[in-house]
Symmetry: C2
Subunit: 301 residues, 2 copies
């Protein structure tokens, strides 16, 4: 598919992203002023990590899901911010010396390189806790706020995000097949994608069939996103990637391309994205959710 | 006061603690089975940290507060477990090499000594997230569960627990007066004590004046507890303390005894505990809450 066609086909998503991203950034900015009980250096380090330039893909997914189920996306903004806080916390902790030991993130020194290891751990802790304060204070009515808390806590917990990271850290020393790799990515990357869609749906009061569509879409997009991330690690360059390319291979990490080959991995991603499109066929603004799947596929361009 | 008198005066608290502690331990045990998506080593490390023998003081405070406002303490058990999870997470992260670098906790190797640094960080992350899952899944009705989430998230966040730890870590290199030290302890230790009481009150549907009494009690007991902890660091021995004595002084940490002297520190603790007793005068089972203040005072005996 030519790049012109890609521009056209991704436009419904790009238009939404362009209109929402400044509002997400503004909301995140407002949420990180804090009062005098927050030490200045902690505030600065949290803002350094959370407000770093980024695609804001997960919060945009929250807002798209809410609108696809008939809600004004502004009602879902606290959920969008909470999801981005969980995402930012997981990046800060994943980058730590005792974890992936990454020195570069989004083209800038990682939090622990800039502020030291102990503060980076505490930045992650603070963002993880604050996500639940933002959700519980910002979403109405209480039953929906509570359902959001429960869903996000589960996605961030030992059987999802954290469990996936534990297995991922140990993966380099384990022989592994594609099924086991997919199991890791379903928790480490997929769970938060899925939760993003689900939170948007919860805020909008989605019907069970709408929730099912969003869940399936989130799972498939999340998995495809991770496969494409693995491919980017081979194809990408540090400028567009914002991190060191070839790092996975250097660390002996199992990746989709390493296990399946590059062509089969790309094929698997395309197949997953097609399934994602099929899942949201009946939702409002489905063309925007579909456009995102094309955007994800070409995000290295 | 002789030790016999202490036994009598602390008995209402001790009786309640003896009856509730096994139920708290059983509830925590049940909450850490997890399904197959939780890696075995993570499950084991979480249980090692959370189920370690302990006084369970904070969860007992949650249950006492609930009963003091007319609720069956069993209804508050999820809140009690959530508070203990936050407490356990904060201990695991505080002990890390880049933080307080403690090798011994409750008489056993700390989590990172036993399981490595990366897993210890992830154990803390998992417990912090799970606390909110436990709250949101276990407390009814939704409005009370949500109020619990909001209160606990705020107590764990950048302006409380995490902010206090940031200032505490930097404290050893800062000149500091008693007011600044109290500001640290109010966030690092006091916030979770206060939240424990408040969560119990929320579950029980406490009136505003009951909540005010619980809040004041929690703040005063929390601060006294920290002063006594500082004194224990001087007086204690590693067996009863479960950690290395004299560590604060060795690290050049500011403590109440270092700033005020031992006698004045003990006097301040006694004064705070007297104020705590005054605050809960009108609540049900006040004698039990009062008994706890005597228990705290003599816990090194």
């Amino acid at each position: 598919m030519s790049s012109t066609t890609f521009t056209e086909i991704t436009e419904p998503f790009l238009r939404f992203a362009r209109s929402q991203r400044p509002q997400i950034d503004e909301a995140l900015e407002r949420l990180t002023h804090y009062d005098g009980d927050c030490p200045d250096v902690l505030r600065e380090a949290i803002r350094y990590s959370l407000l770093a330039p980024g695609k804001r893909l997960r919060p945009i997914l929250v807002l798209m899901a809410a609108e696809s189920c008939g809600s004004d996306p502004r009602r879902a903004m606290p959920a969008a911010c909470a999801v981005e806080m969980i995402h930012a916390y997981s990046l800060v902790h994943d980058d730590l010396p005792s974890m992936d030991d990454d020195r570069l993130r989004r083209g800038r020194p990682t939090c622990h390189v800039r502020y030291g290891e102990s503060l980076a751990i505490l930045v992650g802790d603070a963002l993880l806790a604050q996500a639940f304060e933002v959700l519980s204070a910002g979403i109405t009515p209480p039953a929906r706020a509570l359902a959001c808390c429960r869903r996000l806590a589960s996605a961030a917990g030992p059987c999802s995000l954290v469990g996936g990271q534990v297995d991922d850290l140990r993966a380099s020393s384990m022989a592994m097949g594609p099924a086991e790799l997919e199991r890791i990515h379903r928790r480490k990357t997929g769970a938060l994608f899925r939760a993003s869609l689900q939170l948007g749906g919860i805020v909008a009061g989605a019907s069970p069939s709408e929730q099912e569509a969003l869940t399936s879409y989130g799972e498939h997009v999340g998995l495809a996103f991770q496969i494409l991330d693995d491919l980017l690690d081979i194809w990408g360059n540090p400028t567009s990637l914002g991190k060191s390319a070839g790092k996975d291979a250097a660390q002996g990490k199992p990746t989709y391309p390493a296990l399946l080959g590059e062509a089969a991995s790309a094929g698997r991603a395309e197949q997953l994205l097609a399934e994602a499109r099929g899942a949201v066929d009946g939702l409002k603004h489905a063309e925007r959710l579909c456009a995102l799947t094309w955007y994800v596929l070409q995000r290295d361009h």
